[in-house]
Symmetry: C4
Subunit: 219 residues, 4 copies
């Protein structure tokens, strides 16, 4: 959000080269975490393997972060300040899959496809991000709530239903997290998700007004 | 939302000719579905007749879709991509009645009536769509929830009350869907409805500011 | 919202002359209705007097409506169409007090007071309207719910709490209307109130951005 | 929000000189209040000391208000009208810490730091204000609800969870204030908090659209 000095060329090359591997690693991270959380009936060997995969992908993120810190030529503190979002994502890697959205957008641009209009792109980007965030949030909350005394979120279906009702700010309250961990994830999800969905709603509104204005001019 | 090549003339002729029949069919679809869902005390013969009507109108939609696919001169995949919304509506035909809104708007325009201002039109369009969506959603959720064990939506009145509280994002949670089907419909309703109502609120806000600005200039 | 032909001079004179009496009558209407609903322990004579006052003020509204219909020189149907809002207010006179807001605004303008900025005026107008709407809504819902079996709104305080939670779209659901009448009022309140509060929020947001932009220019 | 005459130089000097002391006093006020509310197990001596600190800092605010009233050279009524927000804050001093936000912004400006963009500043300001408001609200509500019969807010964690769900307008309703005092604080929190968060969401949306527009131009 600031006027930043240009990225050093070494870092740019690294970013470009790591784009596809990191996208794949994000998916592996989310997938292995999901499998471990949801597959409570799988044999222990499988679940341990999933845990190992999750750990390994996280290690890839950590190495990537370290390399970029090195290449940037900045001190750790200034790097953290400038790459604040990256640091957050390193600690909460479930937000990683948002990288898929960026990667998809970049791929589209390369294909010279007729691109979506401005508002459609904002809607697609923010909507997709909110969906991923909701899925990751439901997963983590389910992990926290599973087996907690007095929990109202009993199945993963309940967790998804809860996540949808929360992101839409409807908040029925028929199923809610009761553990401190689950509630903290919920608050984070509200903070990020509501801004994203506000962007979707706002863009849709602007787009609709634009469509009607154009149509009015044609008459 | 993309810059699209012009519609072929054959398709345009077809679109124009089918406008009124399809609008009528939409209403028949919604009406017969509503009657079957709500008229649980009607004799079986009546309810079967309603089901037949629902099926028949859906068949009309399917034929219309097929003809337009043919006339467009595109492959099925590209057609689906370009006419994504039509495809969704083919699968979820309860959204069809939105066609009524478009038809009404077009009729108004032909009558050379003094037309509503931009914001009023957006509000009317989005508000009417949200109302139809809420009604169709309440109907479907009631159909899913009816007789489900532990359901809190007992009457159609409850379902309408639930739909209003959901679309307004108030979400009291005194009545909520409990079946997976009902919840899936609810999520779809949130996704569409909130964007529509966001457009209503946004337009109202813009309109109010416009009114106050104009009044301020007059002084 | 349409480009309307100018109001006939007779009607304009009537409007000007009736402004203060109608504002007073609005307050009498709301006050007497509130007293009858809240003063369940008052002697019957008092409550009957309140009812009479409510009826009388409604009669004033009806007469005013009839006179304006006459002066407008339009047929009833066209009059109803053009003065749609007035017609709604005739049927639901609890919305009348909104007239107070308009009257206050006009009085301010006459006083040559340094006026509020655009956004501040929108916020004041919409916020005051929402407050009046919430109060009238809480009153009506309390009237419907009072003594209903299984009602969770037991006191007028509960009704006000419910109205606030509803208008803010928070919707806790700890107290909710259960009678069909109460629920219909609630839906109307959501529809009007949310648009009004959306205008408040939107104006506040625009105002804040304006303030920050101006301050940024000063540096 | 009005075009105001310039502040007298005496007042301006006072404002500048009191800036840091008042910011510190705000933090002392919030801290001592929080300690008294949360530290129910502390020895009585400590809690009395906290109360004294709270009182003392409030006295500082009152003195500051009186001095500024004097320096402004206005009558008390006009002063209250012009400095409406300050008067509110004098009565509800938990809103004081918002001063921290302003002080931080001013400090940043002095440091000649590369400043945040317009939208980022609005987001930071409104977001930080909402956070402080939520914390102060949770504290006060907890104070009111503590030990009330039938209270669902049992711990301070519950109060924070309730505040987050309220500010996000999610409103689960699993924990809600039941005392009149707690509910009045809740309504105030909704009124202020929703406007602030609406500003955050709106700015985020505008910022996202700006980013996508700029990126689109680059292609």
């Amino acid at each position: 959000m600031k006027d930043r000095p240009p990225t050093p060329p070494g870092q740019e090359r690294w970013d470009r080269r790591m784009e596809i591997p990191l996208t794949v690693t994000s998916l592996v991270y989310l997938g292995s975490y999901a499998m471990r959380v949801l597959g409570r009936d799988l044999p222990t060997g499988w679940r341990d393997f999933c845990l190992a995969l999750t750990m390994a992908s996280w290690a890839v993120f950590a190495v990537d972060y370290a390399v970029r810190l090195r290449l940037s030529g900045l001190g750790p503190l200034r790097f953290v300040r400038r790459h604040f979002l990256d640091t957050v994502v390193l600690i909460l890697p479930l937000l990683r899959p948002l990288r898929v959205v960026t990667a998809y957008d970049r791929a589209q641009r390369r294909q010279q496809e007729p691109r979506l209009t401005l508002y459609a792109r904002v809607m697609a980007y923010a909507g997709l991000s909110a969906t991923l965030l909701g899925f990751a949030g439901a997963l983590t909350v389910y992990d926290f709530e599973y087996g907690a005394p007095g929990a109202s979120i009993a199945t993963f279906g309940d967790a998804v239903w809860w996540a949808c009702a929360t992101l839409a700010t409807v908040g029925y309250g028929d199923v809610v997290p009761v553990t401190p961990g689950g509630r903290m994830v919920a608050v984070g999800m509200m903070a990020c998700g509501l801004a994203l969905l506000g962007a979707v709603t706002g863009s849709f509104s602007s787009w609709l007004i634009q469509v009607f204005r154009r149509e009015g001019d044609e008459d």
